[in-house]
């Protein structure tokens, strides 16, 4: 069984999800709506249309041999035969077909695993240091806390409707091997003066655009308070996080926008409120000794010298005497299903607590009795995988980059391969670089985790004579610990082509450095920075395209470098997408109603009006925290949240009641009112601010009117597209920020002109339906 508990409702949710997949395949559900639901289910569409990736939650990176074997079989049956290990210690299946997804999810439930919350704006997989529980230097094992917090959070629906993703992490000591000081909320184990177990809590750190170290939020909380602190942070984020701009939504942006004092005050409020509710503390189950010493013969290694080298590289002592933990390198995290199932079979005799996924996309075995290391070594030799090259090579972390990621700039994985190749042939003492972290991200968003690297690279674009070429920013010298985490600093930039060479040169200089004993940070702080500047200068000049085209082709690319196919990411499909789906339906129905012939039967008109009222009522409910999607509840919720609160005029109460009674007959004559309700909802959505508040809209209403337009132009009777041409003519005469009012006919003018005006960057301040025509207030773009 999986380490965390599957909540009761999940089986039902997965059934609903299977239905949704069928509806989507039959064209009855829009792609956007489907995406908004499938992404929080941990299911992403890959760059290749119609193929999907499923990410399986593995709290603390724990996987039992049995689960690993089963996931390998899922990868073989439904995927491309490969398990991909992520930097959040969880496995992904790739190239999954839509129709197979429910089967996979059901099988996962059988295993006690779930993909829920794998993606989207959710509580993501909760991570811990990879050696939690076996690290001789840890304060105590944090694994059970990560697992128990997972069980609690995946049963709470608001974990799936956050403004953006939320990453929790635990570390067993001040060395912060779990990156708690670079997470949305991080817990570092400590014991207070009275010997009580507890945690130091860091908040608002994280990697991505504008990476940032976490800030110390609470100096000490007893371990019984973990749930309360985590819950309070989640509540704070749910209520105040920025829901309009997904690029500035993570908790660290909230810290910046509120300021430290206000953030602490609001957190304090939430924390007290949570405490008042007197939740049970986490049900922490100590793992105990689940490993066992099997009754099999210990083998001697086939090759003693190579065995000794392997032990130096990958084997470390555990807290518990006589037991070892062993790192199994997995190049870029791609684990073939045959190797995975072979490994699962081999390792199962040592018990369930033997396998963890690591944050550098490898596998860390644990609880292997020392005398069986020879058996493990022989097994690895037989499995035919590469497992004994210098540790630094397989410690390299790279994101997928532009090969599969829509946001990627550079082909980071190609660059990482080139680095490995270069280092293997460099003649450098690579074993002297054990533990050094090299991280490569294909763009400034830090999926390759370059901000925590000793030596990091992030993709960027440089130009020579106006021609773009792929390049990387170099950063390095990150310090991660409880004393003072400092993210990697900028050190220079280099073309993608020369990245492997400069990496080898930098590492060569480090190996020769007199201060090498101070580690890579010491090197950077000392002579390293200057040395890297010098090396960057050496590689700064690149040849012209005609002289050497290689510089203009990224690693592994067949086409010259270009950003043409860069798109927008899938990660934050969420609430806004749900609203957009309803907004699309509203626009469609408005159009349909307006194009109805006068002679159309009243019943048809009434039915369309009812549908329009339904979508208008539902669209913004989600912003009030109401997750009501079904017909019957929507109208009542709308009255409560929008009419009773004064956001929408009470004059619509009648049509809402008629719609809820499904009284198409009465609505037949009230299509105009339905249209006008839809307009009000659209206006509110336009005026909504980043935390789903309509303050701006209510202020406008209170003032009675919007600022009067500077210029007004009557374009009634002017057909498309001349009405738009004339609008542009008028706008060209105004100063930026000035307003223009235009009057437009109903029908195709009001359907087309506002969109065209917005597409040019101007703002539609208001649109108001008058008697048979529309008034549109436009503010000229700055």
């Amino acid at each position: 069984m999986g380490s965390y508990e599957i909540p009761a409702g999940l089986t039902g949710e997965i059934k609903d999800f299977s239905c949704l997949i069928n509806e989507f395949k039959n064209g009855r559900v829009a792609a956007k709506e489907f995406k908004a639901i499938r992404v929080p289910f941990g299911m992403y569409e890959q760059r290749e249309e119609g193929t999907y990736m499923i990410r399986i939650r593995c709290a603390a990176g724990i996987i039992t041999p049995g689960e690993l074997g089963h996931i390998a079989s899922l990868a073989a049956r439904y995927g491309d035969g490969t398990i991909h290990i992520t930097t959040r210690q969880e496995p992904q299946l790739h190239y999954v077909k839509l129709e197979d997804a429910p089967k996979i999810m059901e099988e996962l439930i059988g295993l006690g695993l779930s993909s829920r919350g794998g993606g989207g704006n959710t509580v993501r997989n909760i991570t811990v240091s990879e050696d939690a529980g076996v690290d001789p230097y840890e304060v105590f094992d944090v694994t059970p806390y990560a697992v128990a917090l997972t069980s609690r959070f995946i049963a709470e629906p608001d974990s799936w409707t956050l403004p953006r993703k939320f990453k929790f992490a635990f570390s067993g000591s001040g060395a912060d091997k779990g990156l708690s000081t670079v997470s949305d909320l991080g817990f570092i184990a400590r014991v207070d003066g009275n010997g009580r177990k507890g945690f130091k809590v860091y908040a608002a750190g994280g990697m991505g655009a504008r990476s940032s170290a976490g800030k110390l939020l609470l100096e000490f909380i007893p371990d019984t308070e973990v749930y309360n602190a985590a819950k309070a942070a989640k509540e704070l984020f749910w209520k105040h996080g920025n829901r309009r701009n997904k690029h500035a939504a993570r908790l660290r942006f909230l810290w910046d926008s509120l300021g430290e004092a206000e953030f602490r005050r609001l957190f304090g409020e939430e924390y007290s409120r949570v405490k008042e509710r007197a939740y049970q503390p986490l049900d922490v189950k100590e793992t105990g000794e689940t490993s066992r010493v099997p009754d099999i013969a210990a083998e001697g290694p086939g090759n003693a010298a190579d065995f000794a080298l392997w032990k130096d590289r990958f084997v470390s002592m555990q807290k518990r005497k006589g037991f070892m933990s062993v790192t199994l390198p997995v190049e870029f995290g791609f684990l073939g299903h045959e190797h995975a199932s072979g490994l699962a079979g081999f390792i199962s005799v040592f018990g369930d607590d033997t396998v963890r996924f690591t944050r550098d996309q490898n596998i860390r075995l644990r609880n292997i009795p020392e005398k069986y290391l020879g058996n493990l070594y022989n097994f690895l030799i037989k499995s035919g995988v590469s497992f004994n090259r210098p540790q630094v090579l397989d410690g390299i972390v790279s994101c997928a980059g532009a090969s599969t990621c829509q946001l990627g700039i550079c082909l980071s994985r190609g660059a990482a391969k080139a680095v490995i190749n270069k280092l293997e042939n460099s003649g450098l003492d690579l074993d002297g670089l054990k533990g050094l972290k090299i991280n490569i991200s294909g763009c400034p968003n830090s999926c390759g985790q370059h901000p925590v690297a000793d030596l990091g690279f992030s993709g960027k674009v440089l130009r020579k004579n106006g021609r773009m070429y792929p390049a990387y920013k170099i950063s390095g010298g990150a310090v991660i610990n409880d004393v003072g985490t400092k993210l990697a600093g900028d050190l220079g930039e280099v073309s993608s082509r020369d990245l492997p060479s400069i990496a080898a040169d930098i590492l060569g200089a480090y190996l020769l450095d007199a201060d090498r004993a101070k580690g890579f940070q010491g090197f950077i702080a000392g002579s390293g920075k200057k040395e890297i500047e010098r090396l960057c200068a050496k590689y700064a000049e690149i040849p012209e395209f005609e002289e050497d085209r290689n510089y203009y082709y990224d690693w592994g690319a067949k086409e010259p470098f270009s950003l043409a196919t860069r798109g927008s990411g899938e990660c934050s499909a969420g609430v806004s997408d749900l609203i957009e789906v309803d907004m699309d339906n509203i626009a469609r129905l408005q159009k349909e109603i307006l194009s109805l012939e006068r002679t159309a039967p009243g019943a048809r008109r009434g039915e369309l009006a009812r549908e329009l009222i339904f979508y208008s009522s539902r669209a913004l409910l989600v912003t009030r925290g109401v997750d009501e999607r079904a017909e019957k509840g929507v109208f009542g919720e709308f009255i409560e949240h929008f009419i009773d609160s004064g956001l929408v005029s009470g004059s619509y109460r009648d049509i809402l009641c008629e719609a809820s009674r499904n009284d198409a007959g009465s609505l037949a004559g009230k299509a105009e009112e339905a249209l006008s309700l839809a307009e009000r909802v659209k206006y509110l959505y336009g005026a909504m601010d980043s935390s789903f508040s309509f303050d701006a809209a209510s202020r406008v209403q209170a003032a009675g009117d919007i600022a009067r337009p500077g210029v007004s132009r009557d374009l009634r009777g002017v057909a498309c597209p001349m009405n738009f041409v004339k609008t542009k003519m008028e706008l060209s005469k105004l100063n930026p920020g000035d307003t223009l009012e235009i009057l437009l006919d109903d029908g195709s003018p009001i359907e087309n002109v506002p969109g065209s005006v917005k597409a040019e960057g101007h703002e539609i301040v208001a649109s108001e339906k008058k008697n048979g025509y529309w008034s549109l207030l436009i503010r000229k773009k700055a």
């Binding site: 004579n465 106006g466 021609r467 012209e544 395209f545 005609e546 597209p721 001349m722 738009f724 041409v725 004339k726 542009k728 003519m729 706008l731 060209s732 005469k733 065209s756 597409a759 040019e760």
Partner: protein, 269 residues
């Protein structure tokens, strides 16, 4: 800012609707001055589209008369125009399309002695000539006079075009001088697919209009070449040649000369 008339708004509405052109861009086009040298296969479509687009002043220079063999591709001239001066034939069509356009005619061949005086009044020049001496003369005059121009050439099924902006790659950076007389067949010997004249001439017109409105990326420092037989288009990057005899570091060409060797010397019967 010109306040456009109702007629103008309507006539140019499909330009104005374009986000990148708008009222502002169209106003610039209305004030723009283009000179088209040569009213053959390339000049004909360019003249028609520029007049239609509302280019304020269009100069047209050609010293020939319309010949029956021209009509296969020079679509501005009609059958009834055979024997007529090309500039007159072209002006009539341009005026018919857009009476607002001011058409200035130069019923003469532009040569070293007169070209500089003509181009100085224009913002952009379109090379629609059919022979190498003329192409080099236009290039030299435009580089010396710091005038943007569009080079274009067609033969059989192939076309090529480059836009020159002062300071960027010129035609002589790539081809230092006219090819030897016998190495290149003339149009009448080699033939040309009429439609590709339209393809290339309209590309030149589009470049002129983009330049006028100040939008997009011009074919500067790159040459567009196409082969209509395979219908294959590509752009070849160009860069300034430091040894260019005209705009290089030690230029050897300091004044305009008329090269001999008209490539199409059999064209005139």
């Amino acid at each position: 800012m010109i306040d456009l008339t109702e007629d103008q708004l309507e006539r140019y509405s499909r330009h104005i609707i374009l986000k990148d052109i708008g009222v502002e861009g169209q106003s610039k086009i209305l004030e723009f001055k283009v000179l088209i040298i040569g009213l053959g296969g390339l000049g004909a479509p360019a003249a028609l589209y520029l007049a239609a687009a509302g280019v304020g002043t269009i100069g047209i220079a050609d010293g020939d008369t319309v010949d029956l063999s021209n009509l296969q591709r020079q679509v501005i001239h009609f059958t009834a125009d055979v024997g007529k001066r090309k500039v007159i034939s072209a002006m009539e069509k341009m005026k018919a399309i857009n009476p607002d356009t001011n058409v200035v005619v130069y019923d003469e061949k532009l040569v070293a002695a007169n070209i500089a005086g003509v181009i100085k009044d224009y913002d952009f020049i379109i090379d629609g000539t059919d022979n190498f001496p003329a192409k080099f003369l236009i290039n030299d005059a435009c580089v010396m006079g710091k005038k943007p121009f569009s080079h274009g050439g067609i033969l059989r099924f192939e076309g090529q075009t480059v836009t020159y902006l002062p300071g960027h790659t010129c035609y002589r950076c790539v081809f230092t001088g006219p090819p030897p007389k016998s190495s290149v067949p003339s149009c009448s010997e080699a033939g040309v697919l009429g439609a590709i004249a339209g393809m290339l001439g309209t590309i030149q017109a589009a470049e002129a209009i983009k330049y006028a409105a100040g939008v997009g990326r011009l074919l500067v420092d790159r040459m567009l070449v196409f082969d209509a037989l395979k219908m294959d288009f590509r752009t070849v990057p160009l860069s300034r040649n430091p040894r260019c005899p005209l705009c290089g570091e030690n230029p050897s060409i300091r004044e305009l000369v008329d090269h001999e060797q008209p490539a199409c010397d059999i064209r005139r019967k």
